[in-house]
Subunit: 347 residues, 2 copies
DNA sequence: CTGTTAGCGCATTCAC
DNA sequence: GTGAATGCGCTAACAG
């Protein structure tokens, strides 16, 4: 292994001190132009590369930030991470990614490891209801930023979308299309974002003078199977719904497939709207109405909130950013569907 | 900021030496049970946490590995990274992710930064034709592993799928379905994996005694628009094809949509097969035949190749792993399509 | 079993 | 302007 060259090596070669080399390399003003240039040149010649670890140990800054998400191979989190990465990388930060697989224990373990690794900040979409690990982070005075799935804590910043509004908009849209018997697939009511979407759904109904039927609200995990099963359940009701607002695109897809297989015409017999704007929603034969969560932007904003906090370590910043969700109306809910033109995508 | 407690702090409290504390913490055999337990207990009490940076500086090992991919928010790379992460995390390694956006300059910059950060290894799916940065990595004796998009270098390990075989299988399948006029959408012939798929396509034709028509081989980037455009081009031929093997699922989708809009019945009038097994291929109204690349497995294997190299730094290991691609036959190419059963997914 | 010493590579304070 | 000395937190070699 070619031994890495350090500032000492180049100091020795030039018969000066490591301190001088360090200064030259860091553009310290009090250094003669001659030596600076000499140092720079020989550093280049010797393939010198700064050891960031030493710098990190010295400065107490690792230039790494930790990002914790339930899982990485989903379009949404992949895009958020991409946004974070794109903002942080040019500023010299690296992103260390951890997955929790929705496990509370793994979340705790991830936080532990990131703290040990001396990350300069932690950005997380939490998959737990615990609070202790987060208090540890705060006590260490390490910037903590929640995105998407937040936890309400004093003094902690968060970047989320207005899930309530998303649920409201989607439901209102279905009502505007003439539907009144609207069911809701709620992924998991123990998770705040889904509760919020459900609240929005309910409020939209109330605002239009439509009664809320509890039997219209069904739990269905975020996959096709559960979406199909939910349809099965709903259609067995004495007074079945004619439309569904699903908090998950995958469940919405499953619902649509099940409805089709039973001969329902969508959107005329039955309308469906999803949530997340997963790529497939616009690829389908029947494109799916959904709510966009601006994942990339969420990541970028979260990253910038972190950067702000790094620049102002003295003052405590608490920033609660709430992005407005965008309803994307497509064929699955639009009774007068636009005809597709050749070689042109619908939205 | 609550000052971090170091081994010195706990040494002082116990009136012993930092070295002893270190030994106790690291389960060094030559230490009395009494002191070990005492140290452990007070460490706990004082909320001690090991500073990995110091350890890294001392040992020369950062316990970080760098992963470089063209982009992170695609299903394929997201899954590969997930695989890598799942293997490495339990071994105490962190994954630092970088994107090149297909830019050679960014790739170089990423490598630079990762080397500065003293990563213990670099796993990369390259998006360039350069070789110099990789030689730098090797010269530093840092494990380098290519996955998916490799570069052929002596002494360097790689984990890829047999793209040739994938192209062959898909094409052969179309032939078996009775098609002879088969076109090919080649994403980018400057990239090895696509050239290989194209070779497989050609060989399958040859093996069945079908002539290769150069006008049947069209460049189409990995998106729907280019897939549709390619269909337009192909159908204008004097003797248009009746089937397409596309090296990209997205282009295949675009092709299918364009064909449908022109009234073609798929798969009877025209068959299509894609590549990558993107999630949407099995969600579609018309499910799409494709080739699975076992992304998760690829990531896991790449990670394990890295781990092996770390364990045997003395001997030089060159491991070329080639995964067999799996052809997944779906409706877009199967003339006698299976009927979908309710609540049950096709594949 | 435990203490002493030294060094990983760098930046910074204090001298000169 | 530059050198000398120091410490970031930890482990390992050498003593005892």
């Amino acid at each position: 292994m070619a031994k890495k060259t350090t500032i000492y090596d180049i100091a020795k070669r030039l018969d000066i001190t490591a301190a001088t080399v360090s200064r030259a390399l860091n553009n310290n003003p009090k250094i003669s132009k001659a030596t600076r240039e000499l140092v720079l040149k020989t550093a280049e010649k010797m393939n010198y590369e700064q050891n960031k670890l030493a710098l990190a140990l010295k400065s107490g800054k690792s230039n790494n930030v930790g990002v914790i998400v339930p899982r990485i191979d989903s379009n949404f989190f992949g895009s958020v991470i991409r946004g974070i990465e794109e903002e942080l990388y040019p500023k010299g930060y690296h992103v260390i990614i951890c997955q929790t697989q929705e496990s509370e224990a793994k979340e705790t373990a991830n936080i532990d490891t990131l703290l040990n690794a001396q990350v300069d900040g932690i950005l997380i979409s939490t998959s737990s209801n615990q609070i202790k690990p987060f208090e540890r982070i705060i006590k260490k005075n390490i910037p903590l930023i929640f995105f998407d799935r937040k936890k309400s804590m004093d003094g902690v910043s968060s970047v989320v979308i207005n899930d309530y509004e998303g649920g409201y908009k989607a439901t209102k849209h279905l009502i505007d299309q003439g539907f009144t018997k609207i069911a809701h697939l709620c992924v998991d009511k123990t998770i705040e974002i889904y509760r919020e979407r459900c609240k929005g759904y309910k409020q939209a109904l109330i605002d239009s003078g439509i009664d809320i039927k509890e039997e219209y609200i069904v739990q269905a995990k975020s996959n096709r199977e559960e979406g199909a099963k939910a349809v099965d359940t709903l259609l067995k009701l004495e007074n079945p719904p004619k439309a569904i607002f699903s908090s998950s695109d995958f469940a919405a897809l499953g619902a649509i497939q099940e409805l089709k297989s039973r001969g329902y015409k969508i959107p005329n017999d039955f309308a469906v709207a999803g949530f997340s704007n997963e790529p497939f929603t616009k690829f389908m034969e029947l494109t799916i109405t959904t709510v966009d969560q601006s994942a990339l932007e969420m990541g970028k904003i979260a990253a910038n909130v972190f950067l702000e906090q790094m620049e102002n370590t003295d003052i405590k910043i608490e920033k609660k950013v709430i992005l407005e969700p965008e309803l994307i109306v497509r064929e699955s809910s639009l009774k007068t569907a636009p005809k597709k033109s050749k070689l042109k995508k619908v939205n």
